[in-house]
Amino acid sequence: MFNFSQTKKILDQYKIPLAKSFLLKSDNQLGYIKKYLSWPIIMKISNPKIIHKTEVRGVAKVNNEQEFKDKFNQLSQIKGNEGIVAQQFIQGMEIIIGMKRDAQFGPVLMFGLGGIFVELFKDVSFRIAPIKIKEAKKMIREIKSYPILNGYRSQEKINTNQLVKILLNLSNLSLREKAINQIDFNPIIVNSKKALVVDAKII
């Protein structure tokens, strides 16, 4: 599994936007963090061996300096961390976009609503890469919960163009980076303006 800096590098390379994130080795980097991020901030462990960070209480939202310091100490107790990631908190809807490399058909792309939507309802759509813009748009419209993204009952209408871009860039990445077999961008947070990867699992 890719570690923090490998992940950041490859997302950069393929123009897949990551929420502003920094890998911290100690809590005296707070001053630096304050320059780039604003409260609230998400703090989480960077630990390629742990697949579900929430299960080891490895993720937290902090609102001020004191909470930041407390959480930093607490998260540092977890063994095997390569550091603690501080990430800009973003308001929006959770999306999952992923890829699995199939032995016969090559990269299979997946799109769906994140959180319980993917886990319980399996409300997702698939395409085999490469895809073009038309197919990417269809993937988004195909899921049952699409009305939720499209401003159902005066909810915020989310920026699907940004999601289309991520799908196309992921298609491109999967075709070139043949050593990568599985990817979860879970979640991607999307709102009316932007879509940013918050957590990426690359195997």
Binding site: I96, F105, Q182, I203
Partner: protein
């Protein structure tokens, strides 16, 4: 690849008269279709068979050979292949088993075989297959007990036994163009044969029976080009196999093998069928009737129930229903011949007392409506119904409106049997269940 399907001269290596043997089946099939080609029998253990000279080796035949068909024990196959190459054959079919399907020695043997034919650039069918059939060139280079009648359906199968079933199901009903048993695909693979059939003007519909796909990327590329021109129907076995690999991401967990196959089919325009019945029902429809792009459907019935069922299926399959235009409606009313209680909309319910004449009026008036693309004509055998006469009228109408597909639902058994015979002899597909008629229309109109 053409030479495989229309060779002038064939050498059958492994010809025999031993009862119950593959070599006997092949010899019989080849000899029974040999009017315009010459069959040479090869077997070092025989001097004559079927009152024909038998050669000890392909190399002892003094005429050039287009196709060699090899059906001998696996350990002798490579030698026969080398001799065939030396003889400069232009195509090869290897029936023999004992290759990649049977352990390490077989895998090695298949690799050597592939090297030999690839180097010699000779098209190969097999090994471990049933052979091939071409009804137009009258070639039966298989050990299938059925020689199908001529038609426009081509079949590619990874199971030989399924070919035997499908040909028997279709006997006296569907016509076939070419049949290919893939076997182990040592050199030419599924995509190669698909491409060949895609370019074959006499193939209108391609049926596939698959168990596994070797090169999915190549397959999708090939298939995308073909499905723009003609339909490909697939029946796939082994779809419920559980994934074996360790799965760590949500995507990998959800994108199981079957989902991937379904996605590939949808993306490349393949029609994925769930059952052998569905495969054969759709094959019949697509083989016999024309396709119209983005068409809209009319339904004529003499019974409310079947009409409602049909409209339910239209909704399920998202089929566009045509309007009954005011002009057509007026013509029907003014004819004074239709029961005044008729439905006046689509489905056009002519009421239970409709005779052949009422069907005739309805079909002819409505078919002239420009935006009506095709008809499903339902008939339930009520006490006054004229099933046979109505069938003949439909056959006549079909000749007038050649471009517009018609599927019938003469729903019953004894009372519609002879009517169905008339319809199907004229290539109007009939189904007892409206479900299959509407599903068939989905693919005729949604092309």
């Amino acid at each position: 690849m053409n030479i495989l399907f229309n060779p002038k001269t064939i050498a059958l290596i492994g010809a025999t008269n031993r009862t119950g043997s593959v070599g006997l089946g092949l010899a019989k099939n080849l000899l029974s279709t040999s009017a315009h080609r010459k069959i040479f029998l090869v077997n070092p253990n025989h001097k004559t068979l079927f009152s024909q000279k038998v050669y000890p080796s392909i190399l002892s035949i003094d005429s050039p050979i287009d196709l060699s068909v090899i059906a001998i024990p696996a350990k002798f196959v490579l030698q026969a292949v080398k001799e065939s190459i030396k003889k400069k054959v232009r195509g090869m079919i290897i029936i023999s088993a004992g290759f990649a399907e049977s352990g390490a020695l077989g895998v090695k043997r298949q690799r050597e075989l592939a090297n030999l034919v690839n180097k010699a650039k000779i098209p190969l069918v097999g090994p471990n297959c049933l052979g091939i059939i071409d009804t137009h060139s009258k070639l039966n280079a298989s050990f299938s007990p059925t020689m199908p009648q001529t038609g426009n359906i081509s079949l590619i199968s990874q199971s030989g036994a399924l070919i035997d079933s499908i040909l028997d199901i279709g006997r006296h009903r569907f016509g076939f163009r070419r049949v290919i048993s893939l076997g182990n695909e040592a050199s030419n693979d599924l995509s190669d044969f698909l491409e060949f059939l895609g370019n074959d003007l006499k193939t209108k519909v391609i049926l596939l029976y698959l168990e596994g796909v070797k090169n999915g990327t190549k397959l999708m590329k090939t298939v995308k080009k073909i499905t723009k021109k003609k339909p490909i129907l697939v029946l796939k076995a082994g779809r419920t196999k559980a994934g074996k690999k360790a799965v760590k991401s949500h995507t990998a967990l959800l994108a199981g093998d079957d989902i991937v196959f379904q996605t590939a089919c949808r993306q490349s325009g393949i029609i994925l069928t769930e059952t052998l019945e569905e495969l054969m029902n759709l094959a019949k429809t697509l083989s016999w009737q024309p396709r119209i792009k983005r068409g809209s459907l009319g339904i004529i019935t003499n019974g409310g129930g079947l009409g409602v069922l049909a409209s339910d299926y239209c909704r399920k399959f998202k089929i566009k229903l045509a309007q009954l235009s005011p002009t057509v409606l007026q013509k029907l009313i003014k004819s004074n011949k239709i029961n005044p209680a008729f439905s006046q909309h689509n489905p056009l319910d002519l009421i239970g007392d409709a005779l052949a004449e009422q069907y005739e009026l309805a079909i002819n008036f409505w078919m002239k409506q420009k935006d009506l693309s095709g008809l499903v004509i339902i008939l339930s055998p009520q006490i006054m119904t004229q099933a046979q006469k109505t069938a003949k009228i439909i056959v006549q109408a079909k000749k007038r409106f050649v471009q517009k597909p018609i599927i019938t639902v003469f729903s019953g058994k004894t009372n519609v049997q002879s009517a169905i015979k008339i319809l199907e002899e004229n290539q109007i597909p009939n189904f007892i269940d409206p479900y299959w008629a509407i599903l068939g229309m989905k693919y005729l109109l949604d092309f």
